[in-house]
Symmetry: C2
Subunit: 331 residues, 2 copies
């Protein structure tokens, strides 16, 4: 577990996209964010107070979350100055970067001197079991996408928020770096060794009360040649009772794979559902989540209506329109 | 690459099954096996000459292959005596055990003193790329199973043997420990980190001559809750032109999953082929391989005929009857 609240480190982010981890934490756990720390040249802004590490400590911060991608695969000297100061004033560090904090000798030494923790959420910290496929109590939902990065995490977080607002017992279960930094725990599934992927998902979503919902963060896509195996491990480890189909309508090809077209929502449904039935014979698709961030209001509304009519399932952009109609069939 | 030829170490194997790695090497690369080394109490026998490590060296051996599973998760003192002697007389060691040779300090020290190599084939030795899905030249075949351990590796090795006997250009591509010890190279796919599984398979089966066949060793099953993600990564990384369906007809439930029935061959076909089409639009199922080891001759023959009639595809036990009829559609 990562200590909260957070100071969000935006570094010298060249644009808003580079700080999407910070954006995720800010969007979903604003109550945990005491402020932001920006270096000269930073072009991202979470709309939080700009704080020094000392000011952040005064406001109760416990951990600096590195909310920005680094350039060139190195943790720069400019970053090191800030991160070192943070450790010295009593803050832990948490990072989802490929470069691990634990591999930076200077940070390790200063953290040890100051009794601070370095959290590398990209690296599994648990020896996960091999999946046993035994049916578990409680209910589980998983979003599966036509592609990677189409809004599965935001869909899950919207569902958790709406369910909790209705008094339902629901937990978002993080399976990626950003999700883990948002919720403070989870599994970095794409860094788990192949044999243990499904077992890690079983471990993440254990037996629960009959009315409890685990909202499992989706990863990859069954149609993405690079990462489909991760997606199938999520389906078979997750034993979903409900599937949500997720789609981004302006994508012209699969992310990172220019030769690959996106599948239709029908093809996604007809592929994912029989695979879910292997572990969860009564699984059903209960709704469709469209990421309309790139569309205007009217266009977004019309698209959702068209898809709903075509597919016969509640269809919304849950971040834009609320997740209510996706939760209705689950209540 | 592991130096050949081999001395097969059977240790104190309690039965033949415990020495199945040695059996695989003996069955498929008998010309690489100069003899076997057995300790008191060994109940496995490859039918090779029993040799001391010195005698093995005289016959040209370069590597001791640990062809037996160890008990209790430790490398015993009795084993250590033999393995130490082997290093001292100039032999390398190769192992697919979960316990790594490199974690045994005494073996590491003696290997270093004698300039010998310790090969732990369970551990990836390459930083595999993320799959890019780009269509590659050459042809690829993959066996997909109704379950794990139904004979996919033997099917692939039978196909390679038959293709080579016909003068076809074919290579068996190992994706598991036993396969790697048989062929001397490959990828330990179940030990690869999730994000890189499909990329490892692409790396293993690169661009090749138009008439070249890579026979990719299958792993797991799309219907096995523990390992299905590995299987889908094989399909999407492997870009198969041809799929062979593999089945073991006496299995009463999925291996290690007592609550799970095996899928029918029809269901396997209808699940695997559309997933293969994502990366390989012209992929076809070209035959069926039945592991009839547990059946009598007449029963085996009758079953293959029945399945062939039902499925409309060449159906044989390639280890028992030869792989000719599976190769015919590929020639």
């Amino acid at each position: 577990m990562i200590n909260t609240p957070y100071l969000l480190f935006l570094g010298d982010a060249p644009d808003a996209l580079a700080a999407k981890v910070a954006q995720g934490v800010k969007d979903w756990r604003p109550e945990l964010c005491v402020g932001q720390l920006r270096l000269p040249g930073c072009r991202a802004d979470m709309g939080l107070d700009d704080l020094t590490v000392e000011e952040a400590v005064e406001r109760g911060a416990r951990t600096v979350v590195i909310g920005v991608a680094n350039r060139g695969g190195v943790i720069s000297k400019a970053w090191k100055v800030s991160l070192t100061e943070a450790l010295k004033v009593g803050l832990d560090l948490a990072s989802g970067l490929h470069n691990l904090l634990r591999d930076e000798e200077d940070l390790v030494a200063i953290a040890a001197q100051n009794h601070r923790a370095l959290h590398d959420v990209r690296v599994p910290s648990v020896d996960y079991p091999i999946a046993n496929g035994v049916r578990r109590s409680g209910k589980r939902l998983l979003a599966v996408g036509t592609d990677c990065s189409v809004g599965k995490m935001y869909t899950g977080l919207c569902l958790e928020k709406e369910m909790r607002a209705r008094g339902m017992d629901a937990d978002f279960r993080s399976t990626g770096q950003t999700g883990i930094l948002i919720t403070g725990n989870g599994i970095p599934l794409d860094a788990v060794v192949a044999d243990f992927m499904a077992g890690a998902v079983e471990w993440l979503t254990p037996d629960a009360d009959p009315d409890h919902w685990d909202i499992i963060e989706g990863q990859g896509s069954l149609f993405h040649a690079s990462f489909s195996g991760v997606t199938l491990a999520l389906i078979h480890g997750g034993q979903p009772d409900a599937l949500i189909l997720s789609h981004e309508p302006t994508r012209t090809h699969m992310r990172g794979l220019p030769d690959y077209a996106l599948p239709s929502l029908e093809r996604l449904r007809d592929t994912a559902l029989p695979l879910a039935h292997v572990v969860s014979p009564d699984a059903v698709v209960t709704g469709i989540s469209i990421n309309t961030a790139a569309l205007g209001e009217d266009e977004a509304q019309r698209l959702c209506e068209d898809v709903e009519k075509r597919m016969g399932l509640p269809t919304v952009d849950p971040f834009r329109h609320g997740a209510g109609r996706l939760v209705d069939p689950l209540a």
